[in-house]
């Protein structure tokens, strides 16, 4: 049980007082980020990433990943209390959470949401602990062709699994690849696509894109609705918490199913948002009181919250073991690894044991700390929401500007951020997905490198991607994912004509 020993060593790292302090700061910031409109997990982490440049990498990732857990928890607060999803993955939580709050049961709904989030996350972390070392060990044998095949699979899954039109997904993703290609070519050292603009020598930084697309874009979307914002009150006391906890075990089947859906959707880069919807939909169909869903059924809170948190957490599995992030926030964390000088991917488990296991241990502790923080501090976080948007909005914009500037100490980046913001507003309104765009900017150079190295080995023949069983299987899976919607349509047409 070498893993177990590693994990205990990881706990020793995570339990250092400095790291525990960062954990609690991270969770608190994360919940605030999750509660506020316009600040999401991905761009919250992106803004704060520059602050961690001087920290040891393990402490830095503990703080940043805790911001992520906090944001996952925080999204539920606004959904239940104000019917305003703070994050896209908590939209499904509003369906039953808000009615519950209106029926005078906000405490029950919040407790159920937080506890389910914790259960989902715990399930995913246990899975990561058990599976990630195996996957990483397996991936150590990957050559460039296999590496490219994994990227191919990840990006094809986006096209097949996202609910946006496939060609919009492709367009958004390819824009990301193109932006990643700008600047110095990592293999030949040649400049490309800069058109003589010196600011573009180093290419586009994905952090700037994330802050612009998600941060500024979101603020602009919110501005459309005007500045009006309703506040509300909330309180949880111990009696309600204990009473709800007694009820929850009855829904173990829903929890388990949601955990599995969440883990699956998180590992494939579908992400937390579709996982929460899917879990809600299935729970509604299978639950005994399914007809009551949407009117304040506690099971309708458990299902999406468990799945969203399981998906959000398990998105770190492919990031750690393969270097392919499963969500935009995981992509930002991966970018952080690169900045701290760590090479994400299977070698991490060999060369940076302390880092990997410290992070995994901090996931256990961070989620536990998160549960305690949100259960005890809900009134405080709800009070933040009563600060009007007219004050919050300029502060968030200034924070975004500071975050964008401090990535490279460049005011050009701040202007770029605004351009990305307007672009994000436009793309979002026209239902282009932003997650594949960001992921492509992060992974573009690595995918291209793997592609070109494979082609170098094979003297330019594309046959290298089908040269052995492993790489052919991954590529075939990728192709199935790519044409998934077409396959589904064909299948249902076939059934229609048979009937």
């Amino acid at each position: 049980m070498e893993e177990l020993a590693n994990l205990f060593h990881g706990f020793a790292v995570a339990l250092q007082p400095y790291n525990i302090m960062l954990m609690i700061i991270g969770i608190t910031l994360g919940v605030i980020i999750g509660v506020l409109p316009g600040l999401g997990g991905a761009n919250g982490v992106a803004i704060l990433l520059p602050l961690t440049f001087s920290m040891p990498p393990t402490s830095a990732i503990i703080m940043l990943s805790c911001i992520y857990w906090g944001a996952l928890f925080g999204g539920a607060i606004t959904s239940i209390l104000f019917n305003i999803p703070g994050e896209p993955w908590s939209v499904a939580t509003t369906f039953d959470g808000y009615p519950m709050a209106q029926q005078g049961k906000p405490g029950e709904a919040l407790t159920a949401a937080f506890t389910s989030s914790f259960v989902g996350a715990l399930f995913a972390v246990v899975m990561i602990t058990l599976v990630a070392p195996l996957v990483a060990g397996f991936a150590l044998r990957f050559g460039p062709a296999e590496k490219f095949a994994v990227y191919f699979l990840a990006f094809c899954s986006f096209v097949g699994l996202s609910k946006e039109p496939p060609f919009k997904t492709i367009a958004a993703m390819m824009m990301g690849f193109a932006l990643a290609a700008v600047g110095l070519d990592s293999i030949t050292g040649q400049l490309r696509l800069t058109f003589g603009v010196t600011e573009l020598l180093n290419g586009f930084d994905f952090l700037i894109a994330v802050i612009g697309l998600f941060g500024i874009g979101e603020i602009l979307l919110t501005m459309e609705e005007g500045l009006a914002f309703r506040g509300g009150k909330a309180s949880i006391n111990l009696r309600v918490v204990l009473q709800t906890w007694r009820e929850l075990p009855a829904y173990w089947m829903t929890s388990l199913r949601s955990c599995l859906i969440g883990c699956w959707m998180g590992v494939t880069p579908a992400g937390a948002t579709p996982a929460s919807f899917m879990s809600y939909g299935i729970a509604k169909r299978l639950a005994r009181r399914g007809n009551n869903f949407g009117k304040g059924e506690i099971e309708g809170v458990i299902a999406p919250e468990t799945a969203a948190h399981a998906a959000g957490t398990s998105a770190l599995l492919p990031m750690l073991s393969l270097g392919v992030p499963g969500s935009p926030t995981a992509a930002v964390l991966l970018g952080g690894l690169l900045i701290w000088g760590l090479q994400p991917g299977p070698m991490l488990f060999v060369e940076q044991k302390e880092f990997v296991w410290g992070l995994i241990a901090s996931m256990y502790l961070g989620n536990l700390a998160g549960l305690i923080v949100v259960l005890t501090c809900v009134p405080v976080f709800a009070a933040i929401l009563r600060v009007p948007f007219g004050i919050i909005a300029p502060l968030i914009l200034v924070l975004c500007a500071i975050g964008a500037y401090s990535v490279h100490n460049s005011t050009f980046d701040v202007m770029l951020m605004l351009v990305f913001g307007v672009l994000g507003y436009l793309l979002k309104k026209c239902s282009y997905p932003l997650a594949p765009l960001v992921l492509a900017i992060v992974l573009g150079d690595k995918a291209e490198e793997a592609f070109r190295q494979s082609l170098l080995g094979s003297q330019g023949s594309l046959g290298v991607f089908f040269s052995n069983g492993l790489v052919s299987t991954i590529m075939a899976l990728g192709l199935v994912a790519l044409f998934w919607s077409a396959i589904q349509e064909g299948y249902s047409r076939l059934r229609m004509s048979m009937a």
Binding site: K168, A178, T188, R192, L220
Partner: protein, 163 residues
Amino acid sequence: MSNPSGSGPTHKTLELGTALLIGVFGLIVIFGSLKAGINWGAEGPRAGFFPFYVGAAIVVASAINLWNAQRDDDGRLFAEWGQLRQVMSVVVPTAIYVGSMPFIGLYVASMVFIAWFMRWLGGYRWLTVAAVAIGMPVVTYLVFERWFLVPLPKGPLEEWLGL
């Protein structure tokens, strides 16, 4: 969110415009790749090899999106003019804020920006405005420059104050 009584640009127009914009971007990428060289050189595929196909994919995908966009016309509005005015009332000042940053520094620019936003869009009392507009940059200075040692752009005022 579409209000039949309000007027504004249709969703179709914006959809077409966005698809066109992305298509043009794809063409620029193809053009740039051609300049970098898309064939094989001594060291294997040249710098423009990969981006060329990426650019081609963007153009093809945009052409299909363009076709889809002009086919379905549901008369839906993209947004009402009033809503767009709200959005522009953030974009324009933010652009001025961002543009002025290299000259007057982040702190002064932020103060003016926050004050403007709160006073004209939020309609707050001057006292509240002053508290937030001055408080935020001060907190920022302490957290970023003092605690985390991250330097932020400064202008003539900070120089005069000797910070």
